[in-house]
């Protein structure tokens, strides 16, 4: 499943457009050019180019010493990333699917995320751990999860979740340059893969030069008065589509793309909810004990009176992701569910 060249195109306007996958690769390549301590490691990141195209072409360009295929030993190679980071390298380690975190979580949360703290700040672990997330193509209960809430609950790692090519590039460069461990979660559905249903915004303009997007700043991707939808990743696009549709019905939705869970940009959320008084959280992760709860607490701690209508959560309803298409569609935050969530929050 190789990303083909059709994924880069320069439309007549002259603005260069890339898929999210290509934007990520460009970010990594530019940082590898700039900084010899940056290297990439993971399963099938070499000749294969990453199962979801996140490393396509890097092996050819940088060689196998800097783009290393690994055995299926996630504890081993993520731990190796940590050790290398401590000793002066800046590894980018790919965990193929985030769903596999369970075989290596100790390295992630007890080591990668805690060594800096335990050392009283004397040891740094500058490392990017990237992983594919998300469902929608019937990959079943062990290959379709988002799980960002799991990482965000545990201290010591930043959690970045880009939704589009330009953000993906800027956030990747920021993550690589960050002196802290950064979990970088990319949804398969925003990568612009030729072999998966494409989202129209999975390809978009991306500046050619390297640039950083600050980690921790949400984007108000659509302004509106009637309700705030806070979301991230693929759901941003579904929400924007729904918002366009609802605009025609006179419902004016503000859409916030969080872009990172840690740090969480509470200010942007609060400012928006202060304006609209209504909140829908659209989250492809499991509903309970996750993002939607955290946003509810943010508001309740600040001023519970801000909400003029009950919170609406459009999330996976605490069931494993089922395989069959009608079942999976039922649990994912589809445009239909987002739409009815917004309609119910505005009470029309």
């Amino acid at each position: 499943m190789t990303v083909t060249d059709t994924t880069t195109n320069k439309p007549s306007s002259g603005v260069r457009r890339l898929t999210t996958a290509r934007a990520m690769v460009e970010a990594i390549a530019q940082e590898m050019e700039r900084d010899p301590s940056v290297f990439v490691m993971g399963e099938d990141v070499g000749a294969y180019g990453g199962i979801f195209g996140s490393t396509t072409g890097l092996l050819e360009r940088f060689g196998s010493e800097r783009v290393m295929d690994t055995p299926i030993s996630e504890t081993g190679f993520i731990g190796a990333g940590i050790g290398a980071a401590i000793e002066g390298m800046r590894p980018i380690v790919e965990l193929m699917f985030v769903d596999f975190f369970g075989v290596c979580m100790d390295q992630i949360y007890n080591h990668m995320a805690k060594i800096h703290y335990e050392s009283g700040g004397h040891v740094k672990v500058p490392m990017v751990l990237m992983a594919a997330v998300g469902g929608g193509y019937s990959d079943g209960a062990q290959h379709s999860q988002c799980l960002w809430g799991t990482f965000a609950h545990l201290p010591g790692m930043k959690v970045v979740v880009p939704s589009n090519p330009a953000d993906a590039k800027g956030l990747m460069i920021a993550a690589i340059r960050d002196d802290n461990p950064v979990i970088y979660l990319f949804h398969k559905g925003v990568m612009g893969l030729p072999w998966m249903a494409k989202n129209s915004r999975a390809i978009g303009p991306v500046p050619e030069e390297p640039y950083e997007l600050p980690i921790g700043k949400a984007a108000v991707v659509r302004e509106g008065r009637d309700a705030t939808v806070v979301t991230l990743s693929l759901s941003v696009h579904h929400t924007l589509d729904v918002a366009d549709e609802l605009a025609a019905q006179g419902i004016d939705v503000e859409v916030i793309d969080l872009r990172s869970l840690v740090p969480l940009d509470g200010e942007t959320v609060l400012a928006s909810v202060a304006k609209t008084g209504r909140l829908v959280v659209v989250d492809e992760d499991y509903r309970s004990f996750g993002l939607s709860g955290e946003l509810a607490a943010l508001i309740a701690e600040h001023d519970p009176g801000m909400l003029r209508a009950p919170l609406v959560r459009v999330a996976v309803p605490d069931v494993p992701i089922p395989y069959a298409r009608p079942l999976e569609r039922f649990v994912l935050p589809t445009p239909e569910r987002i739409k009815s969530g917004i309609v119910s929050v505005v009470g029309r």
Binding site: E43, F100, Y137, H143, Y323, A324, L327
Partner: protein, 325 residues
């Protein structure tokens, strides 16, 4: 090794191959001209086992329906050889209500308690479960056996080693089978495994190891027979490695550019025609028998597909059921 057995092994292999070819066809049916992994009658990842039939046939010939087996992400050959209901398995792969998991599992998550079959999409993580099944069998005083099958890539996962140690320590009736098809997706064995063969690791768990080098079903049958017998007699676990081949891509859609020369070689050593020729030459089969075996396999497989297609899709709200018993 009796003549009947050879015909039986051949028949099992034909049945598996026929199944995988049919699933291949059904999988790609609605995925052209543009391949979209989520489209069609069978969506999602699809890992087919063509080339690895000797492992399943030779191994499962020794198992009883009350023996347990945990299979990896590439499970069809093992499921069929161990007697999983083909109709309900197919219905599961097609995501239907009549499927083994009522459409909730999919092709990497086939569970058939009637024959104690399970599988998992997480590499090597079926091995501990097999150890636990064997522990139960031992405690229950039975002579049942548990089998764990993983790929050679999976043999570098820590949980696999933990399982070998536990099974040996507790002298459990487990047979560990490594299907060494030379590849873990695009990573060749030489880039994943520090020893020439995983059999070199058996001594590290004080258990016998046996390597079947030629992907021959007879070789698998004999080695697996020894291992299953040991386990059934209470003599503890065995590690088997079978050098087999992955005839097709890691999953469907895999362009396999990384394979180069080796792909043609693999295709030239397809075990099915080789075994067929052997049995024909040895006079155990004639052309008519071959044709009959193939026809029967086709009928069974097409029936199973018809069953799946005629089954209803689950109602969306059923997604909320079965989280808790």
């Amino acid at each position: 090794m009796g003549e009947d057995i050879k015909v039986q092994l051949y028949t099992t292999m034909v049945r598996i191959r026929t199944y995988e070819e049919a699933i291949l066809r059904e999988y790609h049916r609605d995925k052209s001209p543009v391949f979209d992994i989520g489209a069609g009658r069978i969506p999602g990842e699809m890992h087919l086992s063509a080339g690895q039939e000797p492992v399943a046939a030779g191994l499962c010939a020794h198992l009883r329906p009350d023996d347990a087996i945990t299979a990896p992400h590439r499970p069809h050959h093992l499921a069929l050889a161990h007697g999983v209901d083909m109709k309900r398995m197919t219905a599961e792969i097609f995501g239907r209500e009549s499927g083994l998991g009522r459409g909730k599992g999919g092709h990497m998550h086939l569970f058939d308690p009637a024959v104690h079959f399970g599988c998992s999409g997480i590499i090597a993580q079926g091995a501990p479960t097999a150890v636990g099944a064997a522990l139960a069998f031992k405690r229950q005083g039975s002579d049942r056996v548990a089998v764990s099958v993983v790929g050679e890539g999976a043999a570098n996962q820590g949980g696999f080693h933990e399982s070998l140690n536990l099974a040996s320590l507790w002298r459990l009736p487990v047979v560990f089978v490594i299907e060494d098809n030379g590849w873990g997706i695009s990573v060749p064995r030489s880039a994943s495994t520090s020893v020439p063969s995983n059999i070199d690791r058996a001594a590290g768990y004080a258990m016998p190891g046996e390597l079947v080098e030629d992907n021959s079903v007879d070789g698998v049958y004999e080695a697996a027979g020894r291992a299953v017998t040991r386990a059934r007699k209470g003599e503890g676990p065995t590690l088997l490695e079978i050098r087999t081949i992955r005839l097709w891509g890691h999953f469907e859609g895999d362009a396999q550019a990384y394979r180069g020369e080796e792909l043609a070689q693999a295709q030239a050593s397809d075990p099915l025609p080789i075994y067929e020729q052997r049995l024909l030459k040895d006079g155990l089969l004639d052309e008519a028998a071959v044709a009959a075996i193939k026809e029967q396999a086709v009928n069974e497989v097409e029936d199973a597909i018809a069953f799946a297609l005629s089954s209803a899709e689950p109602a969306p709200e059923e997604a909320l059921e079965d989280v808790f018993a």
